[in-house]
């Protein structure tokens, strides 16, 4: 028990990897055994996450104070360049850790109908989970980078092998875009490493928390021009992941080609890494540049909101529409963060969590209809509500949640973001608000074309959603509803940290 408590984050990170290793030893042909092992390996982090939930102290902030991080594990890894194995959680990472465990487990369940090379698929999916957990737990920049890259390859293979017809193109595009981002990050990491000193030992360090103490910065880091360059390097790296306009073009391709469960993970967790990186790394390490850059960030956020929504409206492919709606929703995160107010920041973080659940539902639902009809053309259906009422119920819930109807978590997040940012940049917020109308419009329009109107006779025999699929959707729908009415459980988790984050950025003159 002691071991579990003192290594809880490591366990959550590496249990899936252990599962992947076990899967590789299973002899061929035992597909159900492979799926069961994968489900167990992806499930095990959930009780640990529950344990985290109950033991996490919500009163301390973390962010830039090492002693306030919880569940810390701190060991030396490559001593010659002071790389550390340093994990810890605070209010910025806690919601993301929770989200990762839930979505990953549901993704494994959602992959039950994969029949091609199930062994490789599940092993890669679990490896992906390890990478994602690692990114959210790492407090050493080198370690963060390693996990960030570890996550790339499984994703590449999962899209490239199990994807749709243009999978090779989509996979390589995803890979090269993200890689470009991560090498920019690598350069910035090296620049930070050589221009900071560990206050205790006097040597160079990869410790992120040291980077956040501006007093450790020396050399190049004292020049504002260089700091701008470094900030932009990081920003582009994270913007590709979010993805922000104009780096978003890989996303629709990747989503359209990826298998359902992989789309779920991609939209549900991977996109959040971009905004998480901004909160964890860019903002506290370069507070001065952040303040200098807020207006461009807000404008980019607004472009994402409006442009993403307009693109979504123009799509005839249901999955592509959902993909562009993610672009739009992630724009809200950026807008909220750029405001540098507590409400905006908390709203942005809550939007990350809420969008993770809602978009996961949407992609699961698109996958359900695609499995049965083998196409996703919005105009190719019609009147499905009469044939598949339960499915229609779920998709209506998901669509309403996604368009920000009060009573769902998305509404709370967006409302907080607008409240937080309206006082800071009025015009931009007013333009962004028009995005909400477009978002509502394309959701309702799609709902109408697919489920209402005269029944398309081709689909009179369409099979209703089955129990396994409901199992994937129900927890997400229930959580979205609960958090829409009473968001405090998640808000309490992150409030202290995000308020501290705003203070850290603002205190610099």
């Amino acid at each position: 028990m002691d071991f579990i408590n003192s290594h809880i984050l490591s366990l959550m990170t590496f249990l899936p990897l252990a599962g992947a290793a076990v899967i590789l030893t299973v002899p061929g042909g035992r597909d159900n055994l492979v799926k069961t092992i994968a489900a167990v390996a992806a499930f095990l982090p959930i009780p640990l996450a529950v344990q985290l939930w109950f033991t996490y102290d919500r009163t301390v902030a973390g962010v830039n104070v090492a002693s306030q991080f919880q569940f810390v594990e701190h060991y030396s890894w490559i001593p010659s360049i002071n790389v550390e194995y340093f994990l810890g959680a605070d209010g910025i990472s806690m919601p993301m850790i929770m989200l990762t465990t839930i979505i990953s487990f549901l993704a494994v369940i959602g992959s039950w109908n994969i029949d091609k090379q199930i062994k490789g698929y599940m092993a890669l999916l679990l490896l992906l989970e390890t990478g994602m957990m690692g990114v959210f737990c790492a407090l050493d920049f080198f370690l963060f980078y390693v996990f960030w890259e570890v996550m790339l390859l499984p994703m590449y293979f999962l899209i490239g092998i199990w994807g749709g017809p243009r999978r090779e193109y989509a996979a390589i595009k995803f890979f090269l875009y993200t890689l470009l981002g991560s090498i920019l990050m690598l350069i910035v990491m090296l620049a930070l490493y050589f221009n900071t000193t560990d206050p205790e030992t006097g040597g160079h360090t990869f410790n992120m928390l040291h980077y956040m103490q501006q007093s450790t910065h020396n050399g190049w880091l004292q020049g504002f021009d260089v700091r701008i360059l470094l900030f932009l390097g990081l920003f582009i790296g994270f913007a590709i992941k979010v993805p922000l306009f104009p780096f978003h073009t890989w996303l629709p391709d990747a989503h359209v080609e990826a298998p359902t469960a992989i789309s779920v993970i991609l939209a549900g967790i991977l996109l959040k890494m971009g905004t998480y990186g901004l909160m964890r790394i860019s903002f506290p390490m370069f507070p001065d540049v952040t303040k200098w850059f807020v207006i461009p960030m807000a404008i980019l956020g607004a472009i994402n909101i409006v442009y993403g929504a307009l693109c979504a409206m123009a799509q005839s492919d249901l999955k592509k529409m959902v993909a562009y709606s993610s672009v739009s929703h992630m724009g809200f995160c950026l807008l909220g963060m750029a405001a540098l107010t507590p409400a905006g920041m908390v709203g942005a973080a809550f939007q990350m969590f809420s969008h993770g659940m809602i978009t996961a539902m949407l992609f699961f639902l698109v996958g359900v209809v695609y499995d049965r009809a083998h196409h996703r053309d919005i105009d190719g259906f019609g009147g499905l509500a009469a044939v598949v009422p339960v499915y229609t119920f779920f998709i209506t819930v998901a669509f309403f949640a996604s368009l920000g109807l009060p009573g769902f978590s998305g509404f709370i997040a967006e409302a907080m973001i607008f409240i937080g940012s309206f006082g800071v940049f009025r015009t931009i917020v007013m333009i962004s608000a028009s995005g909400i109308i477009i978002v509502a419009a394309f959701h309702l329009w799609a709902l109408q074309r697919v489920f209402l109107g005269p029944l398309n006779p081709k689909y009179a025999q369409l099979e209703e959603i089955n129990a396994r699929e409901i199992f994937c959707l129900a927890p997400l729908a229930v959580m979205t509803l609960i958090l829409g009415v009473y968001p405090m459980p998640v808000l309490n988790l992150m409030n202290a940290s995000l308020i501290r984050l705003v203070d850290v950025v603002k205190m610099v003159i």
Partner: protein, 491 residues
Amino acid sequence: MAPISIDAAALLTSVQSIVPEIIVVATAIFVLLLDLAISEEKKHLLCGMGLLGIGVALFSVYALGQGRIEGFSGMIVHDGMGAFFDVVILSACALTFLMATGYSEWEGTHKGEFYSLILLSTSGMMFMAKGTDLMTVFLGLETLSIPIYVLVGFHRNRMSSLEGALKYFLLGAFASGFLLYGIALIYAVTGTTKIPVLATMLYDPRILASPLFLAGTGLLLVGFAFKVSLVPFHMWTPDAYEGAPTVVTAFMSAAVKAAAFAALIRVLLVALPGMQPVLWKVLWGLAVLTMTVGNLSALVQNNVKRLLAYSSIAHAGYILVGLVSGDVLGGQASLFYLLVYAFMNMGAFGVVMLIAQKEDEGYDIANLAGIGFKYPALGALLTLFLISLGGIPPTAGFVGKFYLFSAAVKNGYIWLAVIGVLNSAASIYYYLRMVVYMYMVTPDVEVAVPRPPRILFSMALCASAVVVVVLGIIPRSVLEIAERSVLSLLM
């Protein structure tokens, strides 16, 4: 005439300093003689004998340790650096022999001279890595090159093999000429060929300003640049790599590069640190050109051997990045990378060798189609080696590249690091292209049937894979050894 007195103690130390080399040469001769004595069916014994010899040589390196043993009045030295490169070169040689167990059977290279040429070349490399006199370096270079010329053309009936051999021989002969001429010019100005003595003379500004000396240094660099195939001296590489029997290609790519870089590192860090202000610009340019041209050319290759040849050019560029900075971190990074590179590149060649059923035709990239699922172990191994070559964590290739580029950043060569990482990103594209073929392309015809590997062959692949993964996760001890080796040089 007075008899020349022999200092027995000095002779003993001298012999001691070259024990591993003596063992390798003895093995080479023994293998050649054994070839005469045994019948055709027992030729695999030759390979076993070679492996045994390499094992003993490796053990002798271990027994000698990293302490400094000077021999032959300062012509040769066994120090940390020498020991490190002995290990790299002997490992590459051992992998070659392990792979040759299968390859020789398929392609008919089960001949005494094949193995003994590889061993002789290995001994030349080791001498080159340990030479502290430009003459020793030159002799080592010739000893390593001449057997390689023969080995490249070992398939007498294949046009491409002969073409590669001839090209390599002609250009290589020129390179040796350049190197020797450079040494002569340096000797003309300084009156010495000893590397440590040269270092002390460079404090004299008159020597540094002498055009003859500059020309000599330039020619010396050209000679080395040929051997490690830096752009624009790389023209021979794709043809020689493509033409050579694949097992020889693997050997060349890892061992020759290591030996030539060893000598280059010794010359740059020991003899020429005084020239760093001038030299770094040249090296900077060479590194950028080499990385960029190597990677861009590799992007369009459809022959796996040529692709790996261009990738090996690009890798020479990465390693040079470590030398541009000219400090301990840079040297340490280069050493570590050369070791890692030997394993990952030979591993990649090994897998490719199994998949291609026949020299020449078998190396088309389309031949990889569908291999990934039909032969999961081979697919996984090749993928591992390729992502390591591409520098993606958690493989050793990533740690190596990380060190190289951090040395550049540390010394203020930001743009070099930026160009380097951009190159590294571009290289991912062609490495992944092979992966795409293995896993994502449905083959037009039947999936190629790889040759069943011999046990020793599989061992070579597994050993490479283990090194690539372990050094990616716990690189600590090897990095420290590399650091000590570079420090031993500067003492």
